[in-house]
C-alpha cells in the first residue's frame, strides 16, 4: 500500500513538474538570434571553456554580439572559424591564421653580450633584476623563457635569439605574454614584411649595440607606395592591413632589418 501511494504521489509530482517546465518553456520562450543557433552548431560542443567563456552556448552568444572574435574557438581552429565567419559575414582576411614572430635579429654575429650571465636561466627573472644579458636594452635575452612556455615546442633558440617555427605555431599567445621585452607579436601568416627590431633608441645608439637594428632612417617609409610602414619615434612599424608584400622597403633598408617576402628572396630572412 505504502509503495503504491509513494509511486502515485511521486509520479504525479513528476508529471506536474514536467508540465510546469514545458509550460514555462513555451510561455517564456525567448527567440534566439538565428545566427546564434547556427554558430552554436559549428562549435565543437564539448564545453571545454578554453575560449574563456562558460561554454559553447556562451561563446556563440559572444561571437554573435561581436564580443568574441569569429576565430575565438581554440579547439575548432581554422575550419570552425571559417564556417562561423561565413555565418557572421566576416571577411576571410580577418580569419587568417596568425603566427608568433620574434622581432629581434640580434644574433651573435650582430650584437654582443654584456658579460657572462650566471643567474636563473629565465628571461623574466633576469629582467626583474634589471639584467639585459645582451648589449641591446630592447633585444632578445636569449634565455629561452618563450621556448619553455611554448606548448607546441615551436620556439628554438638559434644563435642567441628565439625563432618561431610558423608551421608548429598555434598562435596561443603564451610566448607573447611571457617575453619581458615584448618582442613577440602575432602576425598574419601571409605577411612576411616585418620590421625585425624593437629598439626605440636613436640611430647612433642602436648602431653601437647591434648591426641589425632599426636605426630610424625612415628610408622604408619613403619607399612604401601603400602607406603601410610608419615611424614610431625612431622605429619603423609595418601596418599589416595595408602591406602588399612588395618588399621594396626591405630592399632599401640599410640595416637589412626588414624581413623580405617569400617571392623576392626565396625564403624569409
Amino acid at each position: 500500500m505504502v509503495i503504491l501511494i509513494t509511486t502515485i504521489v511521486i509520479t504525479v509530482i513528476g508529471i506536474v513538474v514536467g508540465a510546469g517546465l514545458v509550460f514555462t518553456g513555451k510561455k517564456f520562450f525567448v527567440p534566439v538570434d538565428e545566427r546564434e543557433a547556427a554558430v552554436r552548431e559549428c562549435l565543437p560542443g564539448n564545453n571545454c571553456g578554453a575560449c574563456g567563456y562558460a561554454g559553447c552556448d556562451a561563446m556563440a552568444a559572444a561571437i554573435v554580439s561581436g564580443e568574441a572574435p569569429v576565430n575565438g574557438c581554440p579547439v575548432g581552429g581554422n575550419p570552425v572559424a571559417e564556417k562561423i565567419g561565413g555565418i557572421m559575414g566576416k571577411d576571410a582576411e580577418l580569419l587568417e591564421r596568425q603566427v608568433a614572430f620574434v622581432r629581434c635579429k640580434g644574433t651573435c654575429e650582430h650584437t654582443r653580450r654584456q658579460g657572462n650571465y650566471v643567474g636563473i636561466t629565465d628571461c623574466r627573472a633576469a629582467a626583474l633584476g634589471g639584467v639585459n644579458v645582451g648589449e641591446c636594452d630592447y633585444g632578445c635575452m636569449g634565455l629561452g623563457s618563450c621556448a619553455a612556455v611554448c606548448p607546441q615546442n615551436a620556439i628554438q633558440m638559434v644563435d642567441g635569439v628565439a625563432v618561431v617555427d610558423p608551421r608548429k605555431c598555434v598562435a596561443c599567445g603564451l610566448c607573447v605574454k611571457t617575453c619581458p621585452k615584448g618582442l613577440i607579436e602575432l602576425v598574419p601568416e601571409s605577411k612576411h614584411v616585418i620590421v625585425q627590431c624593437r629598439n626605440r633608441d636613436k640611430g647612433p645608439l642602436v648602431k653601437k649595440v647591434c648591426s641589425a637594428g632599426c636605426i630610424g632612417c625612415s628610408l622604408c617609409v619613403k619607399q612604401c607606395e601603400f602607406d603601410a610602414i610608419h615611424m614610431e619615434g625612431s622605429l619603423a612599424k609595418v601596418t599589416y592591413e595595408n602591406c602588399t608584400q612588395c618588399g621594396k622597403c626591405a630592399e632599401k633598408c640599410p640595416a637589412k632589418v626588414i624581413t623580405r617576402p617569400l617571392a623576392a628572396s626565396g625564403k624569409t630572412e
Binding site: V2, I5, T6, V9, I10, I13, G14, V17, G18, G20, L21, T24, G25, F28, F29, V30, A54, G55, A58
Partner: protein
C-alpha cells in the same frame, strides 16, 4: 518576531552553512577565486535558496505530510528544486535579461549545490512553518554569501604573498577556510 530574527541570524552566522555545517564546500572552494564571481554566485544562492525553501516547505506541508511520505522528502526535494531553478531561469531570461546575465552560469550550477538541498531538509526536520522556512533559507544564503566573499577576499591577498612552495594553491586555501571556520565558531556564544 524575536524568534524569526533569531532564525535568520542563526542561519547566517551561528550555523553558517559552509563553515559550520560543511555544506556547499565544492562551490565555496571552486568559485572563490575571484571576488566578482563569488559575489554573483552569492546573490544567485540567496535568490534560489529563498525560493527553494518556500517551495519545499509548501510541498512538505501539503503533499508529503498528509500522505505520510516523510521518507521520500530527499528525492522529491531534489526533483522539485532542480525543476524550480530551471523555471526561474527561463522566467528571468524572458522578463529581466539583466538579472539573468548577472547571475549567468551560476544559476543552473546551484541546482546541484548540496547547500540548497541541505537547507530544505534541515528546515522540515526542525519543524519550521512557511515563514520560518523562508527566513531560514534567506539567512543561510546570506551566510553562504558572506563566507564565499570573505574567502575570495582572503584568496586575492594570498595570491600576492610569497608562500612556501608546498602550501601554494589548494593547501593554503583549505587552511584559510579552516581558520575561517574556527573563527566562525566564536558566533556559537552569541546569545540574546
Amino acid at each position: 518576531m524575536k524568534s524569526l530574527i533569531l532564525i535568520m541570524i542563526s542561519g547566517a552566522l551561528i550555523n553558517n552553512v559552509v563553515l559550520n555545517q560543511f555544506l556547499g564546500i565544492c562551490s565555496f572552494l571552486g568559485v572563490s577565486k575571484q571576488m566578482k564571481a563569488s559575489a554573483s554566485l552569492g546573490v544567485a544562492v540567496i535568490f534560489v535558496l529563498t525560493i527553494a525553501s518556500a517551495v519545499a516547505s509548501i510541498l512538505y506541508d501539503l503533499v508529503l505530510k498528509p500522505f505520510n511520505l516523510d521518507f521520500m522528502k530527499t528525492i522529491v526535494f531534489i526533483l522539485v528544486i532542480a525543476a524550480l531553478v530551471q523555471i526561474v531561469e527561463m522566467f528571468l531570461k524572458k522578463t529581466s535579461p539583466a538579472i539573468y546575465k548577472a547571475l549567468g552560469i551560476y544559476l543552473p550550477l546551484i541546482t546541484t549545490n548540496c547547500a540548497v538541498l541541505g537547507v530544505a531538509l534541515t528546515n522540515v526536520q526542525n519543524g519550521y512553518n512557511f515563514i520560518e522556512c523562508v527566513l531560514s533559507g534567506f539567512g543561510t544564503a546570506v551566510g553562504y554569501t558572506l563566507a564565499i566573499v570573505l574567502l575570495a577576499g582572503i584568496r586575492s591577498r594570498i595570491r600576492e604573498e610569497d608562500l612556501p612552495a608546498p602550501l601554494r594553491g589548494a593547501p593554503i586555501v583549505l587552511i584559510s577556510a579552516a581558520l575561517m571556520s574556527i573563527a566562525f565558531m566564536g558566533f556559537s556564544g552569541l546569545s540574546f
